[in-house]
């Protein structure tokens, strides 16, 4: 029964993503100034928004880990699993942003990359969380979890800077699409719908990944715990 429900959820997410793809590639009208390449928008922006969400989850879970580390060790381990899993999913989404960005920039701006504030802060965000994942891979134990939690909190501080970069500074990157003044926004309901569907589809996919990953990590924690107990008992 549980397996069937999981399969249904998985099929639902895949269907949602297929529907989002259809909306972005076939249903939404071609953009006036950029042409078909503007369809990258339906991937680039939802992925950026969701990477912020997952880094925010990692941030909150890391704070909870530090708060519960001594007082509630079992809850702290759960928080640690959430922090790790959401950082991983966040890196996946942030990678999509950093890949789709240059693909869009090359035909539209004439360059693959430039060191403006938006692009640079996003790359830094990605690097911080990649280093977080490296730390988690190459070190072990309670000390590593504490260091990782601090690194995740530090990394998440970059999220508001990335978000504000094209508001605070002059950038190559365009002004925000939403709430970016009179020369911004989506002027067509079909385009807006395609964008909304893709935010929804990618959110569903990301949250599903997160749920699976947390589940796996909790199991691994239990395995490690049993191994430690067995080793201490001298078996």
């Amino acid at each position: 029964m549980k397996r069937l429900l999981l399969l249904l959820a998985f099929a639902g997410v895949v269907a949602l993503m297929a529907w989002g793809f259809n909306q972005a590639i076939f249903v939404a009208p071609t953009e006036a100034t950029m042409g078909d390449v503007q369809r990258i928008f339906y991937y680039h922006v939802p992925n950026a928004m969701l990477s912020f969400l997952f880094f925010a989850i990692s941030f909150v879970a890391s704070i909870l880990f530090l708060a519960w580390k001594n007082s509630a060790p079992e809850r702290a381990q759960a928080a640690d699993a959430w922090a790790l899993a959401s950082a991983e999913v966040g890196v996946v989404f942030c990678s999509v942003v950093l890949i789709t960005g240059p693909l869009w920039a090359r035909p539209v701006w004439g360059i693959w990359w430039t060191w403006d504030a938006r692009l640079t802060t996003t790359l830094i965000l990605w690097l911080i969380y990649v280093s977080y994942l490296l730390l988690r891979r190459f070190a072990e134990g309670a000390q590593m979890q504490t260091l990782a939690a601090v690194l995740s909190i530090f990394g998440a501080l970059d999220v508001p800077i990335v978000y504000m970069a094209n508001r605070w500074w002059r950038t190559q990157h365009p002004a925000p699409v939403f709430g970016g003044g009179p020369d911004s926004g989506i002027k067509d309901p079909t385009m807006l719908a395609a964008f909304g569907w893709n935010v929804l589809a990618w959110a569903a996919w990301g949250l599903m990944l997160l749920a699976f990953r947390v589940h796996v990590e909790r199991r691994q924690q239990r395995i490690r715990h049993h191994q430690t107990v067995a080793a201490l008992a001298g078996k």
Binding site: E31, Q38, V108, L157, I186, M191
Partner: protein, 189 residues
């Protein structure tokens, strides 16, 4: 907390001593965390503040470049403006055009906007989005001859998305079979 102190007061002096040591250790630890947080937030705040002040660092506008004086001739600049319609003269990858302070539909563009001639010589032609009224960045140097000699051209696109004429909502089925539809002057400002 104070209740705990009262209890320890009634106990022997050695446990009282160790508990006060523990709490001072805890205090110094939280002090260190506070200091670290202040340093990190202070750095971010400082960066944001100085960044705010040097917000113009990525590019300069035409009036800003003209106000730079002699420095404008000696520095490598990235200057921003709008391509004045019908001024693009293309010769292979090279382009000569007029860069204006305002978009031509902007009412301010009627009142003698500041504009410069840009002479671009590069290895590859500018992007397709480089056209009449496009917001563009020219990278190069301002010559004494009053012409901006660019080695690189970048278009800067608006974050406003509107369907191409003839492709509106009826679907991209038509549009995907054609070359990207280019609509001129449908941007209002």
């Amino acid at each position: 907390m104070s209740g705990m102190n009262d209890n320890s007061g009634s106990q022997n002096s050695s446990s009282k001593n160790s508990s006060s040591k523990k709490s001072s250790l805890k205090n110094s630890r939280s002090l260190r965390i506070v200091v670290a947080v202040v340093v990190v937030l202070g750095t971010i705040g400082y960066l944001a503040y100085t960044g705010q002040a040097s917000a113009k660092s990525y590019y300069v506008t035409i009036p800003e470049m003209q106000k730079m004086g002699a420095k404008a001739y000696s520095s490598n600049l990235r200057v921003e403006g709008f391509v004045k319609p019908e001024t693009i003269q293309q010769d292979g990858p090279n382009v000569r055009f007029v860069l204006s302070e305002y978009e031509s539909h902007n009412p301010k563009a009627q009142q003698n906007p500041r504009q410069i001639t840009v002479d671009y010589r590069g290895s590859e032609p500018p992007p397709d989005t480089f056209k009449n009224d496009a917001q563009a960045l020219a990278i190069g140097t301002w010559g004494q001859d009053g012409v901006f000699h660019a080695t690189q051209l970048q278009a800067k696109c608006a974050s406003k998305y509107a369907p191409a004429q003839g492709a509106a909502t009826s679907g991209a089925k038509v549009a995907t079979n054609e070359a990207p539809v280019v609509a001129h002057g449908n941007r209002t400002n």
